[in-house]
Amino acid sequence: MEITVLFFGELAEVAGASKMAVQNIEDTQSLTEWMVGKYPALKNRTYRVAVNKEVISGKQSLKNGDEVALLPPYAGG
């Protein structure tokens, strides 16, 4: 199974990419842990997690084709 991870704003700078495909990740918690391992600078960042364009709270299981976005603090307006 494969999911797409999107990075926005400052987090796209931290990751050096705005989009990435990740295989075999069961849930959002494992994903963020894996991300922090890959990009240690993420550890100190504040962000929300959205799955298929819905902000989630806590842990959510992932399925093939899901789109997970890491959303740093908003600045609209």
Partner: protein, 156 residues
């Protein structure tokens, strides 16, 4: 105006929102004679001092599909909550210079009480819920990331 409530309007537009665009938008309402009150909110890029340097522009980016979805939800909720005749939201993406307009919220109703409350509420909802980011470009070419003051980390 019932049929308009569920239409999805594209909110995000490239670059600053011009005074002409706003004037045209106002003029378009002259035929809607049931309206007695409009409120307009304009968000302008502020030339803050950051680390001793001036902000000369904000480069806005968005998670566009989710942002449009949130704008639509905010709109629908406002129509359900307040007795509005119509409502328009426009937000910039890309570079907007200090002094230029990046957000235009236009709320219309029969009476004034409704539009004052609704407009303030809509602007608050936009700042809290819509995934838009602003890269503040400083006078020396470096940048910082703007943060709205009510951001809550739902995962923390």
């Amino acid at each position: 105006m019932e049929e308009k409530k569920h239409k999805v309007h594209k909110v995000i537009q490239q670059g600053a929102i011009s005074g002409e665009f706003i004037a045209t938008s106002i003029n378009k309402h002259s035929g809607k004679t049931g309206i007695g009150a409009h409120t307009i909110f304009l968000g302008q890029v502020r030339s803050d001092k950051k680390e001793g340097k001036e902000v000369v522009a904000i480069d806005y980016s968005a998670y566009e599909e989710m942002a449009e979805k949130e704008f639509h939800a905010i709109r629908e909720e406002a129509f359900a909550k307040y007795k509005l005749t119509c409502m328009h939201i426009h937000h910039s993406i890309g570079l907007v210079k200090a002094g230029e307009i990046s957000l235009f919220v236009f709320v219309s109703a029969v009476h004034r009480d409704e539009v004052f409350t609704a407009c303030a509420d809509i602007v608050t909802q936009i700042k809290e819920r819509v995934p838009i980011w602003g890269k503040e470009i400083l006078e020396d070419g470096t940048h910082l990331w703007k943060v709205n003051n009510k951001y809550v980390d739902k995962n923390g």
